[in-house]
């Protein structure tokens, strides 16, 4: 399954990229979080799929745009 990943702020900095396409065998957000926690260690993040925040039970679909969002700092 292809996921279009987007990284922002301190996550883009930690991973040293802002976007990538991954062909991975992950079917829900819980697994995705587990996958990234290994790389991101103590960075808190939320997941948005196709511009909506989702929780860990969300089932991913092929071609989903999946964003890793570090803590917000607007305003």
């Amino acid at each position: 399954m292809i996921l279009k990943l987007k990284y922002f702020g301190m996550i883009a900095e930690a991973l040293d990229k802002e976007a990538e396409e991954l062909d991975i065998d992950i079917i829900n957000v819980a697994e995705l979080i587990h996958y990234f926690q290994y790389h991101l260690k103590d960075i808190n993040f939320k997941i948005a799929v196709n511009h909506n925040l989702v929780d860990s039970t969300y089932q991913l679909k092929n071609n989903d745009e999946v964003a890793l969002l570090p803590p917000f700092a607007g305003g």
């Binding site: 702020g9 948005a48 964003a67 969002l69 700092a73 305003g75």
Partner: protein
């Protein structure tokens, strides 16, 4: 969803002139009795002996504009408003410059003030906007809203 999604982001700081122009545009709306304006300004915080000289704002722009749109719609439902405007900076905003401009207008003061506060809190909590605090020595840290 009654209106088109607007672009909330402006490049760099929000100028006092932009705010004045926005106020002036409302003088034809003679059913307005009260405006409330919130402005976020970049603070020169001292963190471990180093001074913040600017914040470099980035965002997940498509999602952020959608979130701002939803926040606006929800405020129009909750409060009896005549007008509402939100602008947020992207890119570099220096200490002392304005990065957020929230503008609510109503027939009466309470609605304008309640709505403005609601919008500011919602924006801080829900908008996927990120801020890199740049120190004078060009090191940085990432801002986190509380």
């Amino acid at each position: 969803m009654t209106e088109k999604i607007k672009n909330v982001f402006v490049d760099g700081p929000i100028t006092p002139e932009k705010i004045a122009t926005s106020i002036a545009h409302h003088q034809v709306k003679t059913n307005i009795g009260a405006h409330d304006i919130f402005l976020g300004q970049v603070r020169a915080d001292e963190i471990e002996g180093k001074m913040v000289q600017a914040i470099d704002y980035s965002s997940y722009e498509e999602m952020a504009n959608k979130v701002f749109h939803e926040i606006r719609e929800s405020a129009f439902t909750k409060f009896d408003l005549t007008c509402m405007h939100i602008y947020h900076s992207k890119g570099i905003v220096k200490a002392g410059e304005i990065c957020l401009f929230v503008f609510t207008s109503s027939a009466h003061r309470k609605e304008a003030m309640d709505a403005c506060r609601y919008l500011v809190e919602e924006i801080k909590e829900k908008a996927p906007v990120f801020g890199k605090e740049i120190f004078e020595d060009d090191t940085h840290q990432w801002k986190v809203n509380r």
